[in-house]
């Protein structure tokens, strides 16, 4: 963050910024290898914000000013001011860089078109659906580029899906536009919304795995699975990423055991609720370490 501020202020040049971003990426790839995580991420060291990153690179966007997300956290909310177009690979080089550093699979990480649309202002397209489908065309090209580069697991984050239940069909349509006919293991992440209003309809999203924030809401979504079984793979969030509290391994294990009461083990992936960027380095490391440790212990219990 400091480096990005320095870069914006002209104190360092782009090559220095990239060098620092690579160092940070190396740090987190090495850490994930060290703790034995099964599927790694590059940590998005080169992204300031999950929507602004794509908005800055795709054609059709102008920079909006700062808007508050929560607490003391802000982001530059982009404005759609023209026709959206994909200029070329946006994340592929960073994915290749990270994958070259580890034997473990590294997820390709994208923000989905529905969320980019919802978290931007729109001054160009006639309505939300048209804007989302225009974005889907561009995100699909990025998915194709990742697959061509060898990426096998691609996560398309759509946290905004849980927010407008009346638009779930639009969200499903845009996800189809992104992934149909493409061969990869697709994950979508949805968080911090009223899941009871979109479940089980959200199971129609054309992905293999739904990555859900469970711990922040005390696993209350599991009650929904009683009535309508969860039929996809799940990335089950077992630590709260908005809390300084480092969960006990035993607490994390109890959450995994709870998940197993509703979903077969072979469908369950274990992860944090959401991204860890709001935690300190030490908090993030310890939370991840305990997630991996808990998962390993439960695996032993199951064999």
């Amino acid at each position: 963050m400091g480096a990005r501020t320095d870069f914006k202020g002209g104190k360092i040049d782009r090559s220095k910024l990239v060098e620092l971003e690579k160092q940070a990426t190396d740090f987190w790839i090495d850490f994930q290898d060290e703790i034995g995580i099964d599927v790694s991420v590059d940590g998005e060291m080169y992204r300031g914000d999950m929507v602004a990153y794509f908005a800055e690179l795709l054609s059709g966007f102008s920079n909006g000013g700062l808007v508050r997300s929560y607490g003391n956290r802000y982001y530059n909310k982009p404005i759609i001011t023209g026709e959206i177009a994909w200029p070329g690979p946006l994340t592929v080089n960073w994915w290749r860089y990270a994958q070259a550093k580890t034997r473990r699979p590294v997820k390709g990480m994208l923000t989905g078109p529905y969320t980019i649309m919802d978290w931007s202002f729109n001054e160009y397209y006639p309505d939300r659906k048209t804007a989302a489908l225009a974005l889907a065309n561009s995100i699909r090209k990025e998915v194709e580029a990742l697959i061509d580069a060898g990426c096998k697991i691609i996560q398309i984050d759509e946290p905004a899906i849980s927010v407008r239940p009346d638009e779930i069909d639009t969200a499903i349509e845009t996800m189809h536009a992104v992934v149909d006919g493409l061969h990869a293991y697709f994950i979508t992440h949805i968080c911090y919304g009223a899941f009871e209003k979109i479940y089980p309809h959200m199971l129609d999203l054309p992905v293999d795995n739904l990555d859900l924030e469970m711990s922040n809401s005390d696993l209350d979504m599991l009650d929904l699975f009683n009535k309508y079984p969860f039929t996809k793979d799940i990335s089950f969030g077992v630590v709260d990423v908005h809390s300084h509290v480092i969960e006990d391994v035993e607490l994390i294990k109890s959450r995994i055991r709870k998940a197993l009461e509703y979903i077969p083990a072979e469908q369950i992936w274990i992860d944090p609720d959401c991204g860890l960027k709001t935690r300190t380095i030490e908090e993030a490391k310890e939370k991840l370490r305990r997630v991996v440790s808990a998962a390993a212990d439960i695996r032993k219990e199951l064999t």
């Binding site: 909006g64 000013g65 700062l66 202002f121 001054e123 911090y192 809401s217």
Partner: protein, 324 residues
């Protein structure tokens, strides 16, 4: 008909300039122990004053403190009432803003004044332009995690809100906006809300009260509002197609949230004026408040100012005065 313009509730606490980012830096410095709480409070006061000054400069008749002291509009109230504990982050309606969900662990009890100090600060800066906005008791409970009896909790909260409104009137508040957006997702709860406001208005000496609804369709609600003992209602027109038709013959004070504060695109002043003038021909309201559709904190600061100024300009056009 008397026509006014007012801010809805929130105002951005950050902007593009380094001066407008002082509060963000101050939070970081407080967290890292580089400044004291007293020094932080000084920056917070200056930020609130700056937001009030901008609202005044926009030309609106009524300003707020921008809810800049609030983590969010929900926990801001809950944290000042005994019985609520702080919970996890939850999305605020269909926005990309998150509030910290309070959990009610025992029946609400008063801890004393809720917003008097905040209001008096606004009054010191803006005089008679000062108004107060707060999340209402019905919506507070609907947005909270609740394992206790809703009706009993609402009854307790109504008394706490009534006491606060009475204090605000004594402190000089002429206009208080109480936000009840959750009613738009829960029309079945109307009778509970109505009873709460009967308690508030009958037992306490309150200033002028406007209930505000946003982020949902208000059309199904309009016919039921006659039974509420408040002075007026503010609607988010951007979510309510056909609302103008439903408001024919409306005789409460009316807040028209017709300037869309969820999008940066600027409306045309004269098109808006034409629309409101057509609405006004069929109203029996005594007062009309031209206002943003919702809080302004969903916009970047420069556009928030522009939208608020548009409300002031629209009010001036409607009054037939200069300054548009």
């Amino acid at each position: 008909m008397r026509i006014y313009s007012k801010n809805h509730s929130t105002y951005p606490r950050i902007g593009d300039s380094p001066e407008q980012q002082r509060l963000r830096r101050a939070y970081h410095r407080l967290d890292s122990g580089k400044i004291s709480q007293t020094e932080f409070n000084s920056v917070l006061d200056e930020t609130v004053k700056s937001a009030i000054d901008e609202q005044i400069r926009s030309g609106v008749d009524f300003v707020t403190d921008g809810l800049i002291r609030a983590y969010d509009p929900v926990s801001h109230v809950a944290s000042r009432i005994d019985g609520f504990e702080s919970g996890g982050l939850l999305r605020f309606f269909d926005t990309n803003f998150y509030y910290r969900q309070p959990e009610l662990v025992h029946m609400p009890r008063s801890r004393g004044a809720l917003f008097i100090e905040d209001f008096e600060f606004v009054r010191t800066v803006s005089g008679d332009k000062a108004s107060q906005t707060m999340m209402g008791p019905f919506s507070l409970l609907r947005l909270a995690k609740l394992s206790l009896d809703f009706e009993a909790a609402l009854e307790s909260l109504a008394l706490i809100y009534g006491e606060e409104l009475q204090r605000l009137k004594t402190a000089g508040a002429k206009l208080v906006q109480i936000d009840e957006p959750c009613l738009l997702n829960d029309f079945g709860g109307f009778d509970f809300l109505a009873e709460a406001y009967r308690v508030i208005m009958n037992k306490f000496d309150c200033p002028e009260i406007i209930l505000a609804f946003y982020f949902g369709n208000s059309v199904p609600l309009v016919d039921k509002l006659n039974s509420l003992p408040v002075d007026g209602f503010a609607f988010d027109f951007t979510y309510s197609p056909g609302l103008e038709e439903m408001l024919r013959g409306f005789d409460f004070d009316l807040g028209i949230g017709i300037v869309d504060c969820r999008n940066t695109q600027m409306e045309n002043l004269h098109e808006l004026a034409g629309r409101v003038e057509r609405l006004m021909r069929n109203l029996k309201s005594d007062k009309l408040y031209v206002m943003p559709s919702c809080g302004l904190e969903f916009l970047p600061r420069d556009r928030a100012f522009d939208k608020l100024k548009l409300c002031a300009d629209l009010s001036a056009v409607l009054k037939g005065g200069a300054g548009a």
